[in-house]
């Protein structure tokens, strides 16, 4: 048998068999997977599973929480290795944090009862805090440089959003208020006044 030679079944009927239907279904599935990968641009196998769970509506609360936690821990690890001057990379990490916030938002909507909602709020506040702290670092220049007010105002907005969450613990609220004060000082032209 040479290159490309395959034996064909003699006298095969024209109607598609069950195996052939399965083949067409597999082709449709592969094509759909390509389209989904192109549009959704996942970066982690766990993210793909969580996306499927969210789309299928199967335990959406836990799927959203797990995905938010995964994104948050990724950003924490990346921020430790990213230089302050690498603004493009930091912006891509902030986009990830926005995604984590969106995931926790889904979790809050799907929460059944007070404790599930509070758990999502605590994670949400933690994400806002990390985001605001990082923006505070970005927006604060050296002693001879002017602070970036736009970035600082964005950081302040995030702190306010976190403080607006009704059921976060007291120590987290105090930490956020202290950060808000630091941002306000950085925004003031002459902090000594």
């Amino acid at each position: 048998m040479g290159f490309g030679q395959l034996a064909e079944p003699a006298g095969a009927s024209d109607a598609p068999t069950a195996l052939e239907w399965a083949g067409w279904a597999l082709l449709a599935l592969l094509t759909l997977a390509v389209v989904a990968l192109t549009l959704l641009r996942p970066t982690d196998p766990a993210g793909v599973l969580n996306e499927i769970r969210l789309a299928a509506g199967f335990d959406r609360y836990e799927a959203a929480m797990e995905d938010g936690d995964r994104i948050y821990s990724t950003v924490v690890a990346e921020l430790q290795q990213t230089e302050k001057s690498d603004l493009d990379h930091r912006r891509s990490l902030y986009a990830l944090l926005a995604r984590a916030v969106e995931r926790y938002g889904i979790a809050r909507r799907e929460a059944e009862g007070f404790y599930e909602d509070q758990r999502a709020q605590i994670r949400l506040a933690r994400t806002y805090q990390l985001w605001a702290r990082s923006l505070l670092e970005d927006g604060t220049g050296k002693w001879y440089q002017r602070n970036d007010e736009e970035t600082l105002l964005r950081a302040r907005e995030l702190v306010d959003r976190a403080l607006a969450l009704p059921d976060i613990p007291g120590d987290r609220r105090v930490t956020l208020e202290e950060m808000g004060t630091r941002i306000d000082r950085a925004l003031t032209p002459w902090p000594i006044l």
Partner: protein, 211 residues
């Protein structure tokens, strides 16, 4: 329509869909991404269409009449475009030169009168691109780094110059295995349709003849 033709076309499409799926997967060596899926771009897409046309004209690709032929052509074009995405180096001056050379290679394939010669020409183009993409570019990228000397930031300038030629992003070694698998699936699709089912009245000229 004979079921044998339909089944053969289905098998070819499955291999080609596998090429598109596996060929788009990248495994970055650094960063938070465990994997990344990238569809082929404009240049690779055009090359895919050009090569699908050249290979069909040269009688290398089996194209039955009707909707099966259309589906096959779409999958061939997409898989060939993904093959060029795998083989072409990242954007930069090197990619420009190689894309132009590859387009010229399509002309050579059309000019061949026998299928084996056309496939051999395609193989030569593939090996040439693979050597540059997987052997030359990583070595050039790794050895063209310069340190920053205090206020003289010649390292940054060297990086910018390097990106002008090829904006290479290092990948994990397993990435090469994935890309090889994608090319293998493309070759399997070609092998599967090399001798199409017999008694086909609508075969393109020359397809199915004994080599």
């Amino acid at each position: 329509m004979r079921s044998a033709h339909r089944r053969r076309a289905l098998g070819v499409c499955l291999f080609l869909a596998g090429t598109v799926l596996v060929g788009g997967l990248d495994l970055p060596a650094s960063g938070y991404e465990a994997f990344r899926y990238g569809m082929f771009g404009f240049t690779s897409g055009l090359l895919g269409i050009l090569y699908a046309f050249a290979l069909t004209s040269g009688g290398v690709l089996w194209r039955p009449a009707g909707w099966l032929g259309t589906i096959l052509l779409i999958y061939w074009a997409a898989a060939t475009a993904m093959m060029f995405r795998v083989l072409l180096p990242p954007p930069g001056l090197v990619q420009v030169g190689l894309a132009v050379l590859s387009a010229a290679g399509a002309g050579i394939i059309v000019s061949r009168h026998d299928r084996h010669g056309a496939v051999l020409a395609l193989g030569v183009v593939t090996v040439m691109l693979a050597v540059i993409r997987f052997a030359l570019v990583p070595v050039f990228w790794a050895r063209s780094d310069l340190p920053n000397w205090g206020p003289l930031r010649i390292g940054a300038s060297a990086d910018a110059m390097r990106d002008f030629f090829v904006a290479y992003i290092p990948e994990r070694p397993a990435s090469q295995a994935l890309h090889f698998l994608a090319l293998l699936l493309w070759v399997l699709a070609l092998w599967l349709q090399w001798r199409p089912p017999q008694d086909e009245s609508s075969l393109t000229a020359g397809v199915g003849e004994s080599p």
